[in-house]
């Protein structure tokens, strides 16, 4: 419920956003025209209803024994036809509009997702996933709801207001003048109330937001709170936040709920005026009794949309603001396209060379300064250093998740930007620290990197990664569905699965990011042996804390604060008695 009342956010480029929004309706333009026509027709029909009812009553008003039934039923039948046709049209308009708006939402969602697939990895490092997701789940929903209901209501309102006004005037001009008095009153009142209530509703949303945040924070730390017997303080704090939220709700809604009765009052006032003046006109013989009744019906129809206008404008603006958020994402800069004449990297030998590479995530904050490094085919390069030293940056560059600022990375002697991204990335297998599995079967998760992998291949990879016995113990074996975040399997097992995925992928170059840190101690040796088999004849880049891996490395890169402070083999670095030597000895202290 907070969603609808949320603060009206004004879009920046209203016209541009609106035009673009309309362009999404482009494929449906003929359908939209049809809907438009149906809308007018349906409303004209429903407007005719009261008129025909009035005529019928006028006929009936002749009094006892003088009613002309032919005429009454003539008007009544027409009235019935009008109403039935109008209702059927309304239903079909709804159906069409729902279909259109949901299809547009579907296209918007797909566009956003497709866009995500071509955005550079950096976008995801800079933006919170919650924010991206809320554009798909919340913003697009706002747009689609606005389309489904507001487009129709605007069309309907327009037709209804103009139509009823014409009908009212055709019945009686002076009476119309009386009825119109209430219009400026309603408009003035709603705009004034909007000014008063909007900041109150904004405050309510804010307070709810604070409360949600507090609840989320405290309950995720519930165990800590219990451990330090901190519950009473937290209860007290929540009492304040809860009080504020309840008060903000009261402040906003107790104003909000006066709007309905007041609008009702204005309408009733109009009705009284119409009744009084209508009677006077009737007494002067200027108007029939039936005409007063149909006039009353028209005036009700007339005032309905006027009351709604303020709401519709609000919704329209928040839909435009939502659309703008979606379009901002769709306009983000994409991953740079492959160079022209980029070639496929086939049967890579695995010679990798970084030549005078400089790089920073933000301009002006260089992380890697003039880094040069040679990794010949089949060599093992270890990258060590404290957390936050920039170890993963090198991996980001190798995989072309980011491009170097200056210098170049050569694969088999060619600048790796001269290969297609797809084939370059295909030449690396990767096991990352954050094990990633998706909701799907274990088979799908292991086979993820290799299309059309057979069951034999998957089982072989699982066996090599020592996860096969575990999988076989599960009731559904390889067809067991893993849930989001892998809640039903442990972190270690997830890690083994991603190792199996990399084994099956079988690429020339291998990237391991602290890959073995979560693995069971008793099988760790065997895993490492399997890893060593996997690493054989491959160029490997390993980020590790395990000194045994590092000792075997052909070259160790020691990073600190984003700089390569030392590089060499274990022996040469130990002899140098520098930063690496200190790191190494700290663990024995």
């Amino acid at each position: 419920m907070a969603a609808r009342d949320s603060i009206m956010r004004k879009p920046k480029d209203t016209r541009g956003t609106f035009r673009r929004m309309v362009s999404y309706l482009g494929p449906f333009r003929y359908l939209m025209l049809l809907i438009f026509a149906l809308c007018i027709l349906s409303n004209l029909l429903s407007l005719l209803g009261p008129n025909l009812a009035g005529s019928a009553i006028n006929e009936a008003a002749a009094g006892k024994g003088k009613v002309n039934f032919d005429k009454v039923s003539y008007f009544a039948m027409r009235m019935l036809i009008c109403y039935v046709a109008s209702s059927l049209l309304t239903i079909s308009i709804h159906m069409l509009m729902v279909r259109i708006s949901k299809t547009v939402a579907n296209r918007l969602r797909q566009d956003v997702f497709n866009k995500l697939m071509v955005l550079p990895v950096g976008y995801f490092d800079r933006h919170q996933s919650g924010d991206i997701i809320s554009r798909v789940s919340y913003d697009i929903d706002v747009i689609s709801t606005c389309m489904a209901t507001d487009v129709v209501s605007i069309l309907t309102s327009l037709v209804t207001v103009i139509g009823s006004l014409v009908m009212m005037i055709s019945i009686s001009l002076p009476l119309s003048a009386v009825a119109l008095i209430t219009v400026p009153a309603s408009i003035l009142y709603t705009t004034r109330m909007r000014k008063i209530t909007q900041p109150r509703f904004a405050k309510r949303s804010k307070n709810y937001g604070i409360m949600n945040g507090f609840v989320e924070e405290m309950l995720s730390g519930q165990k800590t709170i219990q451990a330090y017997a901190y519950e009473n303080r937290v209860d007290e704090k929540f009492d304040h936040i809860n009080t504020d939220a309840a008060q903000a709700y009261y402040d906003a809604d107790s104003y909000g709920v006066t709007i309905g009765p007041t609008m009702g009052f204005i309408n009733n006032l109009g009705l009284s005026l119409i009744a009084m003046f209508g009677s006077i006109l009737y007494m002067s013989g200027l108007i029939g009794l039936g005409s007063i009744s149909s006039f009353v019906l028209y005036s009700r129809k007339f005032s309905g949309p006027i009351n709604e206008i303020a709401n519709i404008i609000n919704e329209l603006f928040s839909a435009l603001a939502a659309a703008e958020r979606v379009f901002t994402l769709l306009d983000e800069k994409e991953e740079v396209a492959d160079r022209e004449n980029a070639r496929e990297l086939r049967d890579a030998k695995g010679n990798v060379e970084l030549s005078h590479v400089s790089f920073g995530y933000d301009p002006g904050r260089t992380i890697l300064h003039d880094l040069s490094l040679r990794a010949d085919s089949g060599k093992l390069i270890a990258i060590v250093g404290p957390t936050g030293a920039g170890k993963t940056t090198i991996i980001n560059l190798l995989m072309r998740f980011y491009d170097v600022d200056s210098g170049q990375i050569l694969v088999d002697g060619v600048d790796h930007r001269d290969y297609t991204r797809r084939s370059l990335r295909g030449a690396y297998a990767m096991v990352l620290q954050d094990t990633w599995v998706f909701q799907g079967t274990i088979f799908d998760n292991i086979a993820y990197g290799k299309e059309n992998a057979t069951m034999e291949e998957v089982v072989a990879a699982a066996k090599a990664a020592h996860i096969h016995p575990f999988i076989m113990r599960l009731p559904d074996g390889y067809q067991t569905v893993i849930h989001e975040d892998g809640g039903n399997i442990s972190k270690g097992q997830k890690q083994l699965m991603t190792i199996a995925r990399a084994i099956l992928y079988d690429a020339r170059m291998l990237i391991l990011d602290e890959a073995t840190s979560n693995v069971d101690t008793s099988t760790e040796r065997e895993i490492q042996r399997a890893m060593r088999d996997l690493m054989k004849d491959k160029t490997c880049f390993v980020i590790a804390h395990r000194l045994s891996t590092i000792q075997n490395a052909d070259r160790i890169l020691v990073l600190n604060h984003g700089d390569v402070v030392e590089q060499g083999t274990h022996d040469t670095l130990m002899k140098a008695r520098g930063f690496y030597y200190q790191l190494y000895h700290a663990q024995f202290e």
């Binding site: 009812a53 019928a56 009553i57 009936a60 008003a61 009613v67 009454v72 039923s73 309304t90 939402a105 579907n106 969602r109 797909q110 997702f113 995500l116 990895v121 991206i132 997701i133 945040g213 609840v215 405290m218 730390g221 165990k223 800590t224 709170i225 451990a227 330090y228 017997a229 008060q247 009261y250 809604d253 107790s254 709920v257 009702g264 009052f265 009733n268 009284s272 005026l273 009744a275 009084m276 006077i280 009737y282 007494m283 009794l289 009744s293 957390t387 936050g388 995989m399 797809r422 690396y428 990633w436 989001e484 442990s490 979560n518 069971d520 008793s522 000194l547 700290a586 663990q587 202290e589």
Partner: protein, 588 residues
Amino acid sequence: MKFLWKYLRKYAPRMAMVMSIKLSGTVLELLIPYVMEHLIDHVVPLQSLPKVLLWGCGMVLLAVCVRMLNVRANRLSILTAKESTFEIRRDLFHTALHLSGKQMDQVGLPSLISRLTSDSYNVQSFIQSVQTIGIRAPIMLMGGIAITLTMDRGLASILCIMAPIMIVLVVCISIRGIPLYERVQRGMDDIVRIMRENITGIRVVKALSKEEYEKNRFHAANRTATQRDILASIVMALPGPVVTLFLNVGLTLVVIIGARRVNDGLTQPGVILAFLTYFNMILMGVMGLNRVFMMMSKANASAKRIQQVVEVPEDLLPLPESECATAPDDGYLIFDHVTFRYDAEDHDENPGDHARFAGEERQECLSDISFSVKKGGSLGIIGATGSGKTSIINLLMRFYDPQKGHVFVGGKDVRAYTQDDLHRKFGVVFQNDVLFADTIRENISFGRDLEEESLRAATKDAMAWDFVEAYDEGLDHASVIHGANFSGGQKQRLLISRALAAHPDILILDDSSSALDYRTDARLRQAIDAHHAAATSVIIAQRISSIMNLDEIIVLHEGQILGKGTHAELMESCPVYRELYHTQMGEV
């Protein structure tokens, strides 16, 4: 609904007042067209302007009263909704905060949060509207029918036949629509899930060039959700036009039959006119009832979810002295043949919700674990993820009770303490522990009214003083939610400061120095040895260097003790430990 009534009972007088105000307001509102009908049919023929004006002013007066009464009723109903939901939320939060580990696992954190937020909002808006729309809608409906009955029984009977048909129709459509919307929600959940999977796994997706595959996967989920959405939206759009259609058919019948009755001298033309207005009212009544019905089913579901938590029985109460076990030896921390597993019996529908409280170590269990730590002694626990390390802490602090065996702290069964008394003995840093959005000072003192000196000393011991001092505000520097403005290492050092600050009897560090480099880790250990020697400590680590100097070390593997002893003893007797040492320390 019974549950809500418990909170609403004390507001019963006020609610009764709201309802009677609303009742009179609605009745007066119904009178307005009645007065108009009288004006046109009976006053106008008198050809007296003053009388017309008098009756007209009567209508205006009625309108003024209606507004006043409705506003008053609406405001009072909001007051009740405000106060009762405040209490519901307070109780809900209070129980949530005191749930035991087992209970927390059963409910799940995301579900608990949504119960406190969206469910409480649902209940709130229900309490507000049921007093107003809930009265107004049936009165409009019944009143409309009643007045038309007094005006003309024959014509009103048309309504009496149609109203129940319409209500049944509308409610039937809504009943069908609600599960359709649940299906839509599940479809949207899938969409969000796939998006989140792709956002978190973007590097893997790109590395394996699976963009097209993922687009297709999303496309399928998107299409399903859209189809469901279209169906649900169409069904839910039906009640409005259908009811209008029915009423208009009724209206036509009224005109035809009314004309006949006028001809027979049974009724006045003004009556037909008034009927037209009352029809609108009845239409609004039916739609209002539908809204109340929808709201009620939503609020009912929410109230049940809230009730489940609020009425959960208090778990882990202290046992009377007589039922407690006696300690087998004079150790300070003792595990006596403890066997434990996280509840096996209730694996319910939300597997994703599980395993959060226990630090994602759901499967782990302990079988027949025994150890004893002397006062002032130290115990190290090492083992792979999932071997049961954190469970030992969970039992020691009695977040759970074991299935077999007993746990003793300070020579007494843990079940003899109240939760607060037990917990006050501990200074603890959990795995993935949290900082709260507050100052560093409050995060460390954590409601314990500690002296400035102890806070400083604790930050110094935890190697946090250097960076805390560097802030302009020092200890008053604020942490944002989840301590996101600190690096992993800084966070761990602040958490350790919290554990040390009160000089606890028992110090527990669960994998809480993993983000520190070896050097800082070593200095931290030296500081603890120097200034917290009196504390009995339990330290869990993945790095052997963090625990190798402790009095006793346990090697845990799949819930069983593989080896127990000092570092030197384990190097002799425990091959797994020896192997671990070699892999980590690189001495092959």
